[in-house]
């Protein structure tokens, strides 16, 4: 016989390995340090735009915590991509709640790794087989989601499980259909029911159930995952604890541990999800830190600041970013028993952080109301 082998990169070995959240904190830290440092080095070589941005900071202190990170606003103004990433399979768009949309180029490897991140984050829920779970998606199906990021990510669950999407192509959520689907699955099957969608859709679902005296007895058979934020309905925003209790009440759930939140944004290629104790566990291929909003100096654990990331799952663009979110990063042992790094989003900054836009304004070109980098 002839014998040969196929090997993936270190990054892929981590992203596609099983039980990544069961590693010790030391093991996770080691992986994070190695991968994030390699990612910065690689992007300096592969992305001239990032290299130029990085160089503009002059002499820098060593280490990933100090390396310059691109404000996410920049992706609204320029197309930033690595030079050797092959075919861009999808230009992913933010939902654009405040004017311009971010445009993120993703190649096949980046998209495959995203699916890997969705799979591994599901380990924090429970691992259902395809025949054991039915998903009700309070959002659009893949075709209607198009290139808009969060609905696209949520819609990927249909690859894994039978999914009923109850938002039509006009953006209307059919609440009565959602309730029918939920109650039908509960009554006629023994499947577990996963309900996913943006928080404002859950609020509407609960209001609809309340107004129409609809009783849902989810008991231990429903798990909900919210994601995507409140968008333009931020006026309706409800604090997390009350929000969970509301869902628990109207869906008739046994425990708030069945109500989870997931976090992602178009510039980030990793899905971060809550464990049963409502802590968002950060997988080790993602480096996360907080930075001082005034001078962007790195802050320590448990200090409120702008969230910054180095996402090693990004191959086609530098996922080395500062977000518009204010949050806290902590580490240690969670009550769920898993060790790791945790992050919490506290609020968004009033206006997108604009520093570093020189990157985009180098040679701007106006196209149909958007500024692109050419």
């Amino acid at each position: 016989m002839t014998h040969s082998s196929i090997k993936l990169s270190k990054t892929d070995d981590v992203i596609f390995s099983e039980n990544i959240f069961d590693l010790s904190l030391e093991q996770q830290d080691m992986i994070t340090n190695e991968l994030s440092s390699d990612t910065v080095t690689s992007m300096l070589e592969r992305c001239p735009q990032y290299e130029k941005f990085y160089s503009s900071f002059g002499n820098l202190r060593e280490g990933v915590s100090h390396c310059p990170k691109i404000p996410t606003t920049t992706f609204k103004l320029a197309d930033i991509k690595s030079s050797d990433c092959g075919v861009i399979e999808k230009w992913c768009l933010s939902s654009g709640t405040s004017g311009l949309q971010s445009r993120i180029p993703r190649n096949r490897l980046t998209l495959d790794r995203l699916l890997g991140s969705v799979r591994s984050s599901l380990q924090l829920l429970r691992e259902w087989h395809e025949h054991e779970l039915k998903i009700i998606h309070l959002g659009p199906d893949n075709e209607s989601a198009g290139d808009v990021w969060f609905p696209f990510v949520m819609g990927l669950t249909e690859l894994l499980y039978p999914t009923a999407s109850v938002m039509d192509s006009s953006g209307a959520i059919h609440l009565s259909t959602a309730i029918e689907e939920i109650n039908d699955a509960l009554a006629t099957t023994n499947l577990h029911v996963g309900i996913i969608g943006p928080p404002f859709a859950f609020l509407q679902l609960c209001k609809f159930a309340h107004q129409n005296n609809i009783v849902i007895k989810g008991l231990d058979r429903i798990t909900t995952v919210t994601g995507g934020g409140w968008k333009r309905l931020s006026g309706d925003m409800i604090p997390q604890v009350q929000f969970r209790e509301m869902i628990c009440h109207y869906l008739g759930l046994n425990s708030v541990s069945q109500v989870r939140d997931a976090f992602n944004q178009v510039e980030l290629n990793t899905l971060i999800i809550e464990c049963e104790h409502h802590r968002k566990h950060v997988p080790p291929w993602l480096y996360v830190q907080t930075l001082s909003p005034s001078d962007l100096q790195p802050l320590g654990d448990n200090q409120l600041g702008l969230l910054g990331y180095i996402d090693s799952s990004c191959d086609s663009y530098p996922g080395i970013i500062i977000s518009d979110d204010i949050g806290i990063v902590s580490r240690g042992r969670c009550d769920c028993g898993r060790y790791g790094v945790f992050m919490e989003i506290v609020r968004r900054v009033e206006r997108g952080f604009q520093g570093g836009c020189a990157l985009a304004l180098d040679r701007p070109r106006v196209t149909e109301g958007e500024i692109r980098f050419v």
Partner: protein, 310 residues
């Protein structure tokens, strides 16, 4: 009957009158380079192979997929009556059908996991299969089943075997399966070695180094007896049994698989055309919707059985 997706659905009767569901996809190229039969893994259906089928048709191959009889999927019967014998009969029927639909074409057979154990037997029996490609192929069925179910039922007497066992949430009738396996000489590593020594066609095997269900050392041990023209073993480093959980490795394997098909069909070095992500995603979703609609009733029943057993 034609469906919305890019395949033709056929329901063909086996010699004993049971219906075998097949999806026939035609190569996008004018002249096909060959026909590949893609067998579903145990507990999986035709739609789980949508990406493999897309890679093959995009690179000039006609593809025949089928769901085994007495298995989850669109063919006759249920998992409660699954046997290796019926799986072999299904594979034989799929080859006959492919031969009838695409006469005089080079024919390859692709299989995964336990279905590869079927494929070894199939290719040892027939001389009209031109090449085999296997992924995570099971070589020691008794050991694999013991790992999957957490207990070595094959070591028990028939009366001690439970009525059913659960595989990935699906109920599988254990007594039928057991009796058929005992009479068919499927179980041991030695039986697999004896079978592959009789193979008439060359074979490429993709085997994962971290497969919990198939020990790569056993794969190497029995395959090392075959000469290099007959067998290429490709080790997937750091990978587990189910490539569905590792799309990055799955993509490398699909590219390599196309390359092997080219070599077996006399097109060595031809350009590998990669289907676009959007096309793969669209096809995968469409096929899942079609298949899930058909099998939801069956699965519902099986899942209820599961809770009773627990």
């Amino acid at each position: 009957m034609f469906s919305q997706s890019d395949f033709e659905e056929l329901h063909s009767q086996t010699t004993d009158g049971r219906s075998l569901a097949c999806w026939i996809s035609r190569a996008t190229a004018k002249e096909a380079k060959g026909v590949i039969i893609v067998a579903s893994a145990f507990g999986r259906c035709m739609h789980h192979n949508s990406s493999i089928a897309s890679y093959l048709i995009n690179n000039g191959y006609d593809v025949v997929r089928y769901d085994s009889i007495n298995h989850v999927g669109m063919s006759y019967g249920e998992m409660m009556n699954f046997t290796m014998g019926d799986a072999l009969l299904s594979a034989n029927h799929a080859v006959d059908l492919a031969k009838a639909l695409f006469p005089a074409r080079t024919l390859g057979f692709f299989s995964t996991s336990i279905t590869s154990r079927i494929a070894f037997a199939l290719a040892a029996q027939r001389d009209d299969i031109d090449f085999l490609i296997t992924l995570s192929g099971v070589v020691n069925l008794q050991k694999t089943l013991a790992r999957v179910f957490g207990e070595d039922y094959c070591a028990l007497q028939l009366h001690d075997v439970p009525h059913q066992v659960i595989f990935e949430g699906l109920s599988v009738g254990a007594k039928n399966f057991y009796q058929d396996m005992m009479s068919g000489n499927w179980l041991s590593l030695e039986s697999t070695r004896d079978t592959i020594m009789q193979l008439k066609s060359p074979m490429t095997c993709f085997a994962s180094s971290d497969d919990d269900w198939v020990e790569i050392s056993e794969v190497k041990r029995i395959f090392s007896e075959l000469d290099s023209r007959s067998l290429s073993l490709i080790e997937l480093e750091g990978c587990g049994h189910d490539l569905g959980e590792n799309p990055a490795m799955a993509r490398m394997v699909m590219r390599d698989m196309v390359k092997r098909c080219y070599e077996y069909c006399g097109f060595k070095g031809a350009l590998i055309r990669e289907p676009s992500y959007n096309m793969l995603l669209k096809t995968a979703l469409q096929e899942r919707r079609i298949q899930r609609k058909t099998i939801s009733a069956e699965v519902t029943k099986s899942t209820i059985d599961y809770s009773i057993t627990k």
